[in-house]
Amino acid sequence: MIIFKLAFAYIFPVLLGYLLVALISSDEGKLSAPEKIAISYGIGVGILTFIMFLIGAFRLPMDLTTILVVCAILFAYPLIKVIKNMRVPNMSTVRIDLKSIKWYEWLLLALISLRIFYSYFSALIKPVEDVDAFADWGLRAKVFFFDHGLSLDRTRGYFFGGSHSDYPINIPLLQTWIFNVLGSWNDLLIKAIFPTFLLALVIVFYCSMRRISGRPFSLFSTYLLTTLPFLIYHSASAYTDFPLSFYFFSSFIYLVAFLLSGDLSFLTISSLFAGFSSWTKNEGIMFALVDAIVLVVYLYYLNKHEIKSRLETVARYIAPILALFIPWSVFKLIHSIPTSSEQTLHFSQLFKNINRIPVLLGDFYKKSFFYGHWDIAWFTFFLVLLISFFIKRSRRENLFVLLGILLCFLAYGAVYFLSDAYVWIINGTNINRNILAFMPLVMYYICSTIVEIFNDGFDSKRKNSSKP
């Protein structure tokens, strides 16, 4: 019985997400079936927990019946519309000719699968054990579950979950949802949340690579992504850094897909993911801003449409982000939940903190190049950057990815430069987890630029070989 309950707990958000994705992207050919499911997991999780948040904020009982009834009301229209538009899928687009898969592709597929299996195994063999995972995220999920609500009574203990009350609650509420479906508190079975984010990330990454390269290199790129030891470790722990990483990567990559195709459905998917970034961790809003800046730069420099149309595009992008961010901010305001002192920016210390710059750069240099978190990924990143500079040819969208990475650096740099969060650099706890948030994007840059370099190299070879 518990297997069925668990399956329902994980499939239900995917179904919610699928309904939304089907509404947003009705054209069958744009997204492959696995990609749609992967996206649906991320979006479905975000939508479900946001609905739970609204139920809790209006002080309705946050139990299974209420959640299902509210979801049924909200998703009746998308469901009817999707059923109406449903067509028998063309199986030829789904079927894969297994004989066409080469042995090395099988090998890469096996290595990727091994990593995903390891992540599931590592997560599900033991309960939550990393400190913040139980002391913060796990505790809040348990409190919400036992209280059937958001615990907003200040006279009792553990207001709003009992831990950092200013942290967004996407992942704690997802855990609460699973406890609700199971009917009991179980901190082992909720851990499948995190490897499933890895599975979704792997699919989205592969599909994004597939848009610009062949199957073998897309598989190799995805394999490279799964080699990052720190990323795999986090995919099996119960911290929220990895889900944030998934949300930010997806938001950026569908923004890139929009830049490539001009398809507005990609823009909507991207903005939803950007919104869910801010719903997962506080720095998510910073990433949503990074996405928005990249979009504005694109529209300003490269888009040929009228100014009104460009503004509409920006508004279309920002609207879902604000729709998620504003209720959360208003809720914090109503309940007097202050931003933690470490995350408050002190602009008055702009010149006083100048000595922090070499420390920040030095810490990044050490942690990125000389430890095992990222193997030699950062070395490869700079090598690829150097080579693309020499070759003087880079795809337009790669420049936007590079701009995105640069903005992530600047944003984190600004936070550590101007806030008391600097102490987390000094004690060495944060920088790798911060890098984790945009590491899949760095991997995408490396791999997509390698595609570029190799194409360029081969082109040159061809030119050389035609020489007399």
């Binding site: 091994l114 590592s122 080699t227 193997d375 030699i376 690829v384 790798n432 190299g457």
Partner: protein
């Protein structure tokens, strides 16, 4: 021309064989139990023992007189029923008053129930010189059975260098609480393997660029060809490093399986809670049964045990942890480290006692 070539090949092999051979060695054969060791016996020249502590200790009998200046390699051949433990060897030289951590070496054991040879580079410890008279040996860092086939000290050689290089590269970085923020990665001679990769890449880049420069004598051709070669090389190193990561993850999987597989959720929660205080989870469970749901408690543990307070909040909800004026006071002090003034006495009476300084006090005056 033929004979000099044969002589050269012969000389090459002779040098290789000599460099691989160990010249001088010292065996340690007689051991006595020091602490945390039971059932020590010698069967067919194999020393068998059972560890009952986190650091079982054996010491050598009599003076060894090991020439530390020459013998800089320690080889241990042993097996244990526990995988991936940490062993430690302490040494004492002439004139040293006793053993200490500065005069010790650590090594990591492999998969359980198989004999492994572990090579330790003693030269890394700057105190390893002069004449060593006594050794204290902790083969594993926990409870379990151990069989030691031999412990010997050797002169360094090429074989040793290759062996320690290999062992160091594949040293198991067991996941720890800090892993959520930090992974050291493989190290050789105390330096990150990444550094070796970078230097190799720089050297290879210089070679590749020189080669194509000499071949084409045109910078455009060099730029067209060299980057792809360099990138291929870089990706090759990346894949090689991943081989080690896969091995580490496999070992993590095995360790986790051995610890957690087949256990109930409660047992798993206990195992992932206690560390060296094995019974803390069960103490919390007993408290959860005694303290009524919805009431408040404060936890008294030795100073610095913040982790225990967080764990209690996590496990005991729907009871509330409150630092002041709590209805119940949970006292957990098995090692008698809590100061008397930290335990409230006035207006409190003993509510439940679980023995060994683990009990619950109840506030008698309702505020």
């Amino acid at each position: 021309m033929k004979y000099p070539a044969i002589i050269l090949i012969f000389l090459f092999f002779a040098i290789a064989i000599c460099s691989f051979a160990y010249c001088e060695e010292a065996y340690v054969q007689e051991w006595a139990p020091y602490s945390g060791v039971e059932n020590l016996s010698l069967k067919d020249n194999v020393l068998e023992l059972h560890s009952t502590s986190s650091m079982p200790l054996l010491t050598t009998k009599g003076d060894l007189l090991i020439n530390a200046s020459r013998l800089k390699v320690l080889e241990i051949k042993m097996k244990s029923d526990k995988s991936y433990m940490t062993g430690r060897m302490f040494f004492r030289r002439i004139g040293d008053p006793g053993f200490n951590y500065f005069n010790s070496f650590e090594f990591q054991t492999g998969l359980n129930n198989m004999y492994h040879s572990y090579l330790v580079d003693l030269g890394r410890n700057q105190n390893w010189f002069g004449t060593v008279t006594q050794i204290m040996f902790s083969p594993i860092n926990g409870e379990g059975s151990v069989e030691i086939e031999n412990v010997r000290f050797l002169e360094p050689s090429l074989l040793f260098s290759v062996g320690t290089f290999w062992q160091e590269f594949f040293t198991f970085e067991r996941p720890a609480p800090r892993t959520i923020n930090f992974i050291y990665g493989p190290r050789i001679n105390g330096i990150s393997v990444n550094v070796y990769v970078y230097w190799l890449m720089i050297a290879m880049a210089a070679l590749i660029i020189s080669f194509y420069w000499l071949k084409h004598n045109d910078i455009k051709d060099v730029i067209a060809v060299a980057p792809t070669k360099l990138l291929l090389l870089c990706l090759t190193f990346w894949v090689l490093l991943d081989a080690r990561t896969i091995f580490d993850q496999l070992r993590t999987g095995i360790t986790d399986y051995q610890i957690f597989a087949g256990k109930s959720l409660e047992e798993k929660q206990a195992l992932s809670t206690n560390a060296s205080y094995y019974d803390f989870y069960y103490y919390l469970k007993s408290c959860g049964e005694k303290v009524p749901s919805g009431s408040s408690y404060s936890l008294v543990v030795p100073s610095g045990f913040f982790y225990f307070i967080d764990k209690s909040r996590y496990f005991l909800y729907p009871t509330y942890e409150r630092t002041i004026e709590a209805q119940y006071v949970l006292v957990y002090d098995p090692q008698n480290m809590v100061k008397a003034q930290d335990i409230p006495a006035k207006d409190h009476k003993k509510y439940a006692d679980f023995g060994n300084n683990r009990y619950i006090l109840k506030r008698t005056v309702i505020l």
